[in-house]
Amino acid sequence: MNLFNRYYRGVRLVDIVATAALIALITSLYFGKTIAGGERTEIAQVERQIQDEKARIRLLRAEVTHLENPSRLESLSASHLGLAPIAASKETTPDGLAVALQKAPVS
């Protein structure tokens, strides 16, 4: 009696094996697709988060640029702190600073 003529409770054994293999295949494919779908959803969520963060970074950069606008800073520093562009006579080099410190009176 060969493999194909074996029966189990009236059903050909090879049919049972093939059916079992088919069910296993369908089940594994279902789980594979389900798991993959979940992963894809998660990837999409992460990508969306990245896009949102990028958009937020760009928005914050624009805000920083607006807040650091030189004309705005200049008017604020002039009105609140009384600051103004430094006069040329007040400028010095590191070497000039060392010389000035040496000449400064010792208290």
Binding site: E47, K54, R61, T65, H66, N69, S71, E74, P85
Partner: protein
């Protein structure tokens, strides 16, 4: 191989081998035994096996596709949506960007309490016209109500939890600096197409860079731009001018480092700007520049061999051409050298120099300086010059001191740069030049002429009409301009276009970085500080000096003692141009 050989293999292994052997020879045995039904069955099994294998391959492929395929084109991830890339200054500071905003939609069919929704939306968006809100609430379908809501405003409305009020994301072009560099940056239409300034000039690169997530840098330096605008606008306001222009360029590379036009406007609120404020005077307006043109006249006189710095001309008497008399604003009434003609800004002197050179020579040089065409800067606003219809002696005389020919400030800056950078015409650009790169240009004057003009402009600041532009230790050179404007077809003596064309530092190798600064005031009114005077030396030169004083540190120009300032009297015409400093 034989399966009858006694074996010490396990019973299970022996069973499997015997079954395989049986299966392998079933076809032969069936044929030998004449059992046709078994023969057919085995064929069926073979075909089934082949199909099973094919299905297994397909299943493996499908599983692989499902688990490991690239999701980039799946359509699940959201597109970035930016139609245009960011525009930045040369140091990466953001000047323009597409930012995520939201459009607000109202669907009256889903609204439970119309009065409450109306009240809530009106409180959240007080600028929204009530008429428009009521029309949307009375409608029968979903209606767009207002766009360009910031995420903050959208969040505030969303928290109200109003049924029938929804949002859709949209991109809006935003200019974080408002009116800073507004004319140079330019703007787009609602469809994301550039309409003016760099937005128009760089439309294709900006759109291409958006896909790659890169920014497009401009040549301007925001620090230079801010200092230029601050000084220009302060002076313009004080002088109650009709308009004003400020320019800073690198004459070696042609890069525009700062460009300002007064009055300015806010790029984010340009709907409220007047046409006058929208005009980029640096590029789109053309002026009869006046005495700053004497830089061109003296340069062409020296370079063509018409005269040397020591050549003399009799400027003691007004010069008659046909029915016209040329006078000097600062009349010296004496014989002057070319150097003195420049320093005293003598109209008679430059007239004599230009007429001696002749119309063909003047035209040839003006063309080489780029004064006979629109500045090739790439901006749509760049204006063509107003040229004389014929080049007779009268025209040559007028153009020698900046009358009878009108050019844009950009064209003037391009021509000046070609004289001050060693003698090469390098087109102005709004794109940054890579460090160390030497832009291609065409030679227009010799290096000797270029050196002589640098020295001459420095002397003009030390002991000429440009004294108020001097910035300590920065070796500033320059030329004043006080052009009478044409009113009702006649030159009006008290309505001036006052300007100062400066260069710094005037010393150092010709091929090194050197900066050109132009300050131009259209119809200044004079102030008590200027004793009511409106000329370039009193109005524009001080502003140019202050701009240079402030931007020099950003451009890494160090202050140091200057030979000319130390002993200006030692600089005779013979010395000028011979000093390779």
């Amino acid at each position: 191989m034989t399966l009858t050989t006694p074996s010490f293999a396990s019973p299970g292994w022996r069973w499997l081998k015997s079954r395989l052997w049986q299966l392998e020879h079933a076809f032969e045995r069936a044929k030998a035994a004449g059992r046709a039904e078994d023969d057919t069955r085995i064929r069926i099994v073979v075909v089934m096996a082949i199909f099973s294998m094919a299905f297994v391959v397909l299943a493996v492929g499908a599983t692989r596709m499902a688990l490991f395929q690239n999701d980039s084109g799946s359509g699940i991830s959201r597109p970035t949506g930016s139609a245009r890339a960011d525009i930045t200054d040369r140091n990466g500071t953001m000047l323009a960007a597409d930012l995520l905003h939201y459009g607000l939609y109202v669907d009256p069919r889903e609204i439970w309490d119309t009065a409450e929704t109306r009240q809530a939306l009106h409180s959240a968006l007080p600028d929204l016209p009530l008429r428009r809100l009521d029309a949307a609430l009375r409608g029968q379908r979903r209606t767009f109500l207002v766009g360009a809501l910031t995420p903050e405003v959208r969040g505030r409305i969303h928290e109200l939890g109003l049924p029938g009020v929804t949002f859709e994301p949209e991109q809006k072009r935003v200019y974080p600096l408002g009116q800073t560099a507004a004319h140079l940056i330019g703007f787009t239409d609602t469809g994301g197409v550039g309409l003016s300034g760099a937005e128009w000039a760089l439309n294709d690169p900006v759109r291409a860079a958006a896909g790659q997530g890169q920014a497009v840098p401009l040549s301007i330096d925001l620090r230079v731009q801010a200092a230029l605008e601050d000084e220009l606008f302060k002076t313009a306001t004080a002088q109650r001018v009709k308009g004003a222009v400020g320019l800073v360029t690198n004459v070696r590379t042609g890069e525009i480092l700062g460009m300002a036009s007064y009055p300015a406007f806010d790029l984010n609120d340009r709907g409220k700007a007047t046409p006058d404020a929208l005009t980029n005077r640096a590029a789109a307006s053309r002026y009869e520049m006046g005495s700053t043109f004497k830089v061109f006249t003296v340069a062409l006189g020296l370079d063509s061999g018409t005269a040397t710095l020591a050549s003399t001309f009799d400027t003691s008497k007004p010069y008659n051409i046909g029915g016209r008399v040329v006078h000097d604003y600062h009349a010296e009434n004496k014989v002057m050298s070319v150097a003195d003609i420049f320093i005293h800004s003598s109209n008679i002197g430059t007239t004599l120099l230009a007429t001696q050179a002749g119309a063909p020579v003047v035209q040839k040089y003006f063309k080489a300086f780029g004064l006979m065409e629109a500045s090739p800067v790439g901006l749509i606003e760049s204006a063509k010059p107003g040229l004389p219809s014929r080049w007779d002696e009268n025209t040559v005389a007028s153009t020698s001191f900046g009358h009878a020919i009108s050019v844009s400030p950009l064209a003037l800056a391009g021509g000046m740069g070609s004289i001050l950078n060693g003698g090469t015409f390098v087109p102005l650009t709004i794109r940054p030049v890579k460090p160390g790169e030497v832009p291609k240009g065409r030679r227009v004057v010799s290096e000797e002429t270029s050196r002589a003009m640098l020295d001459l402009m420095r002397v003009n600041v030390v002991r000429g009409t440009g004294g108020k532009a001097d910035a300590p230790g920065l070796r500033v050179g320059g030329k004043t301009g006080s052009a009478e404007k044409v009113i009702d077809g006649r030159y009006a003596r008290t309505t001036l276009l006052s300007s100062f064309a400066a260069v710094f530092p005037t010393d150092g190798p010709l091929e090194s970085d050197r900066y050109f600064v132009l300050i131009l005031m259209d119809e200044p009114q004079g102030t008590p500080e200027t004793f009511g005077l409106k000329t370039g030396g009193w109005v524009a030169a001080p502003a140019a000096g202050r701009v240079i004083d402030r931007i020099a540190p950003f451009l890494k120009v160090e202050r140091r003692p200057d030979v000319v300032a130390a002993d200006p009297k030692a600089f005779t015409p013979e010395h000028l141009g011979a000093n390779e400093r």
